[in-house]
């Protein structure tokens, strides 16, 4: 190989594509590549370039193909793209497909231990001696396999112009300042950078440049964000059972709560976290804690939601506040445990036999995960009912560029709970299930209250206003009617949708959750193509008036979502049957995050029908 003036060669290309491409690293899981990938991601973010990182991983622990995609977007588009301009191949099992996946004109890098034929000439192809570099960097033999992946960080840093200082910063963050691992990894990166400088010639146009588009942003995954939000929400009790992709929500609470909540001189903890034996027990514990006056939350995914059905009905009917954090993955059944979905909307809203209407909150960004982390407690305690926060794998586990978390703008709302002095102040005798305020929400007391007559007996069976057992038809009906009123009241408390409007738009788009970036991006493309759309991002069920107005105001509204049956579309139909003709469903349910291209093309195709 020659040693050309690489720097010049790269930058002198006229058609440079700066800060606008996707790169994918193909590795095996359990091979330590995650450190390399997030290091790249962080370094780019710290260079001020909008980025998003998405991990496509298999449902096992070690040895199967995994892809990590980083989208670099000067325009701040963060959705998944369907093309990859830069691809790094480290896994023999997928080499052929990875090579094929590079967009024409793109760049392909691979570890030189992979011996495959290169059958493309429309892209730049480079191999690099990953294992050798790991060895030469002086890493101890037993760690070499792990740090070998750092080689591509160094190579890419050189070939894409990633700032090495930022890479170091990223490693420092990752290893919490511990110099040993930082040096170990940085050693390989430096070696690779040097090797690349010496050996590789840039022939593709993709590169990065510092900009200032990430200041005022942080990068976070939704699960950690939600966990921190819960901590700021004063969470007191967590019961959970491990399940992908929800585990990291509860684990992030465990790992971080002490730092935020344990204060000097405090006489004990203000919280308890229990790993339950299964989801039935997790929700049962959460319900018990909610009944006893604690802010309590459990986290799970679809299979766990299914197992929580009976308790969800009990909590709805006995009016116990609990928060359930559902990080959705692909179902039905065990499905695709490591793929993303919005498939639990319908079943969760109707969760429980008999007539139930559960409240859903749907965050659309990591920042909102934080916000809903605390706000879900307020709503749940205010309404005395379960609140299901519907996150998903993409939002929960991937790295999102997001606005910084904001300190709660409202004091904690503990709802209508009465302690001794409150009861004393009452004029009328307190009755657990009486609709004193006409909003359907009764007053409650909690164990430990020593006031006479403060105790009540919670049950899932028919009861009168005093919570006494009753099989009377009129008691039952009156109580069920009150629950409807309560649900109506809830629409005043749940977060209103977020609106994005364009002048003259006659077409509306409704979407929610992690679909957000793809919709935003697609909206720009559609507008560029001459089709102005307005966009309403739902953030809760029940719907608020804005939703009705939005649908009414548009000739046609597309409900875009990631499930097969158009589940939110269905709920909208049920709420607004009179506007049924205006509502159209667009669905994608292959387990991958939505892409703007798909949204744009599907919508255009529908419009052309």
């Amino acid at each position: 190989m020659t040693t050309p003036q690489v720097k010049e060669a790269k930058t002198s290309q006229g058609k440079a594509v700066v800060n606008d491409f996707s790169m994918t690293v193909a590795t095996m899981n359990g091979s330590g590549s995650q450190t390399s990938n997030v290091t790249l991601l962080r370094a780019l973010f710290k260079m001020g370039i909008p980025v998003s990182g998405k991990n496509l991983f298999p449902s096992n622990i070690q040895g199967l193909p995994t892809w990590y995609t980083i989208r670099v977007s000067k325009d701040g588009y963060l959705a998944r793209r369907e093309t990859h301009e830069v691809v790094v191949a480290m896994n023999p099992d997928t080499f052929v497909a990875d090579l094929a996946s590079v967009a024409p004109g793109g760049a392909f890098f691979y570890g030189d231990h992979l011996k495959f034929e290169i059958n493309r000439d429309d892209i730049s192809v480079h191999s690099f001696p990953a294992k050798l570099l790991a060895k030469e960097s002086g890493a101890p033999a037993n760690l070499r396999d792990y740090v070998a992946n750092m080689a591509y960080v160094g190579v890419l840093a050189h070939m894409l112009d990633i700032d090495m200082d930022k890479i170091r910063e990223a490693l420092e963050y990752h290893f919490d300042g511990k110099e040993k691992p930082i040096a170990l990894n940085m050693g390989v990166i430096d070696a690779a950078f040097a090797w690349s400088t010496a050996n590789l010639k840039k022939t593709d146009p993709y590169r990065v440049e510092p900009m200032d588009k990430t200041s005022g942003f942080i990068m976070a995954d939704g699960n950690t964000a939600g966990a921190l939000g819960a901590i700021f929400g004063g969470v007191q009790f967590v019961a959970w059972y491990p399940i992908t992709p929800a585990s990291s929500f509860a684990e992030a609470i465990s790992q971080n709560i002490s730092a935020f909540r344990d204060k000097e001189g405090q006489d004990g903890k203000t919280y308890a976290i229990v790993q339950a034996e299964d989801e039935l027990a997790a929700i049962g514990m959460t319900v018990g804690a909610g009944w006893s006056g604690l802010r309590s939350v459990t986290s799970t995914s679809g299979p766990g939601i299914s197992l929580m059905t009976e308790f969800a009905g009990l909590a709805y009917y006995a009016e116990i506040p609990v928060v359930v954090w559902d990080v959705q993955r692909v179902g039905p059944s065990t499905g695709l445990p490591t793929r993303t979905s919005q498939g639990d909307i319908l079943s969760t809203h109707f969760l429980g036999h008999g007539d139930t209407q559960q409240i859903l909150m749907i965050p659309g960004s990591a920042q909102e995960c934080f916000e809903f982390g605390w706000r879900s407690f307020d709503i749940s305690e205010r309404m005395q009912t379960p609140v299901f926060v519907m996150s998903d794998l993409d939002l929960g586990m991937n790295q999102w560029m997001t606005k910084p978390f904001e300190y709660p703008d409202q004091p904690m709302d503990r709802g209508k709970i009465l302690w001794e002095k409150d009861l004393e102040a009452l004029k009328e005798p307190w009755m657990r299930y009486k609709d004193v305020d006409g909003d359907g929400v009764p007053y409650r007391t909690a164990p430990g209250n020593r006031a006479p007559q403060s105790a009540w007996f919670a049950r899932g069976t028919g009861h009168d206003e005093s919570a006494k057992y009753s099989e009377r038809a009129d008691h039952w009906e009156a109580n069920m009617d009150r629950l409807v009123r309560k649900y109506q009241t809830a629409s005043q408390y749940v977060p209103a949708p977020v609106l994005q409007t364009r002048a003259g738009a006659k077409i509306g788009v409704i979407a929610y959750g992690s679909a957000d970036p793809a919709i935003l991006e697609a909206g720009d493309y559609l507008a560029a193509d001459g089709l102005a759309t307005d966009y309403l991002r739902l953030r809760a069920v029940p719907f608020t008036d804005e939703v009705r107005d939005f649908i009414a105001a548009h000739d046609k509204t597309y409900v875009v979502e990631m499930n097969r049956d158009g589940q939110m579309h269905k709920l909208l139909l049920l709420e607004y049957p009179e506007m049924a003709a205006k509502l159209s469903s667009l669905v994608k349910y292959d387990g991958l995050p939505l892409s703007a291209l798909w949204v744009k093309e599907s919508l255009q195709a529908e419009e052309q029908k």
């Binding site: 903890k269 229990v274 009944w291 904690m412 209250n449």
Partner: protein, 351 residues
């Protein structure tokens, strides 16, 4: 049973916390006349009254079944949760964190505990949640009209159900296997022992399993059934004479002559005095407990008494390092929500 007459007495007796027995009662029972569960409710009332417990200091929990209905029939002034079939242990586990200074008293049935509830039953014992867990054990599902439960003996024949072919669950053996720290068995027909065990259980800091054979007079009370009054009376074999001595009351030495008794000091300072009967049984030995349980199965006797107790192991709420004497559910917003400055820290954690 004698309780009902007591209320008729003109002079109402008040206990040390100034309450009469009536303050410990609940609603009128809707269980069948003669049901073992009613006798147990009466002993719960008596035990709480005699222990001078303030009813508001107790939470009562249950699953679903005739047995699980009974918390409505005692301790009206206590908060209660009649939860889901088989899921009382999880609800109880969460509930006890609300105010861990309260005592938890749970009632369940054999079906509720050993059929649908087997998993939660086993796991709450592993966690040593501080709670009295009474299993009102009648070998059948009373409320759904007499099907076999998992504690029904192999070979039991019931009129509409045929023969039970499955290996029975032995509640105390399960409790031992799962590390329960207080394991007892009794018989609803033996009111005194039931009461003494409930008192001891309420003094225990950890999970106290009390398996009480409590005949279902409607569906499983033939004399040859292991859960009948007849069989119980015939085959009961107490491990010891059981006396509960409250903290306040000093033990009279003469009362329990040297060598014939064992004493177990409970967490709250009370003492259990076990008077030897046939044998000198040491309830702090796991091995001894396992052996007598196995023997009682072989010999087909209804072994009753305090089978095992471990007063050392920390309870679930101990492990969680909760504030001394302060309830989580009384924490102020300031205690619960990190200060404004902390939001910086949260954001700094991200990148």
């Amino acid at each position: 049973m004698s309780d009902t007459t007591e209320t008729a007495m003109p002079n109402i007796q008040l206990n040390l916390v100034g309450l009469s027995k009536n303050d410990y009662r609940g609603a009128q029972t809707t269980l069948c006349a003669g049901c073992g569960h009613n006798s147990i409710s009466n002993q719960i009332i008596a035990a709480a009254y005699e222990l001078n417990i303030v009813p508001e200091d107790v939470i009562k929990l249950s699953g679903i079944g005739c047995s699980s209905k009974s918390p409505a029939y005692f301790l009206n002034r206590s908060f209660g949760f009649n939860s889901l079939h088989g899921r009382m242990p999880s609800v109880a586990t969460g509930a006890m964190f609300g105010d861990h200074t309260l005592k938890a008293l749970a009632v369940s049935g054999d079906g509720d505990t050993t059929n649908i509830g087997m998993g939660q039953f086993k796991h709450i014992m592993r966690r040593n949640a501080p709670m009295v867990y009474i299993v009102e054990n009648n070998g059948v599902y009373g409320l759904t009209k007499g099907q076999f439960s998992a504690t029904a003996e192999m070979g039991l024949r019931l009129k509409y159900q045929g023969i039970n072919h499955y290996f029975p669950v032995d509640v105390v053996q399960e409790a031992m296997a799962s590390g329960a720290t207080f394991v007892a068995r009794s018989f609803a027909g033996d009111a005194n022992q039931v009461k003494a065990l409930i008192k001891a259980g309420l003094s225990h800091n950890g999970l106290a399993i009390i398996d009480i054979i409590s005949p279902c007079v409607t569906f499983n009370n033939n004399d040859d059934s292991r859960h009948s009054y007849g069989w119980g009376r015939e085959h009961q074999e107490p491990l010891h004479d059981f006396t509960y001595v409250p903290r306040e009351q000093e033990i009279q030495l003469g009362e329990f002559p040297e060598g014939t008794t064992r004493q177990v000091e409970m967490h709250d300072g009370s003492t259990i005095v076990l008077k030897k009967l046939d044998r000198d049984y040491d309830p702090t030995s796991r091995a001894a407990a396992m052996r007598v349980i196995e023997e009682s199965q072989d010999e087909e006797v209804l072994l009753t008494g305090l089978i095992y107790v471990d007063t050392e192991r920390p309870s679930l709420t101990d492990i969680y390092e909760l504030p001394q004497g302060r309830a989580l559910n009384r924490m102020t917003d300031t205690e619960l929500r990190p200060g404004k400055d902390m939001i910086e820290k949260a954001n700094a954690m991200m990148f």
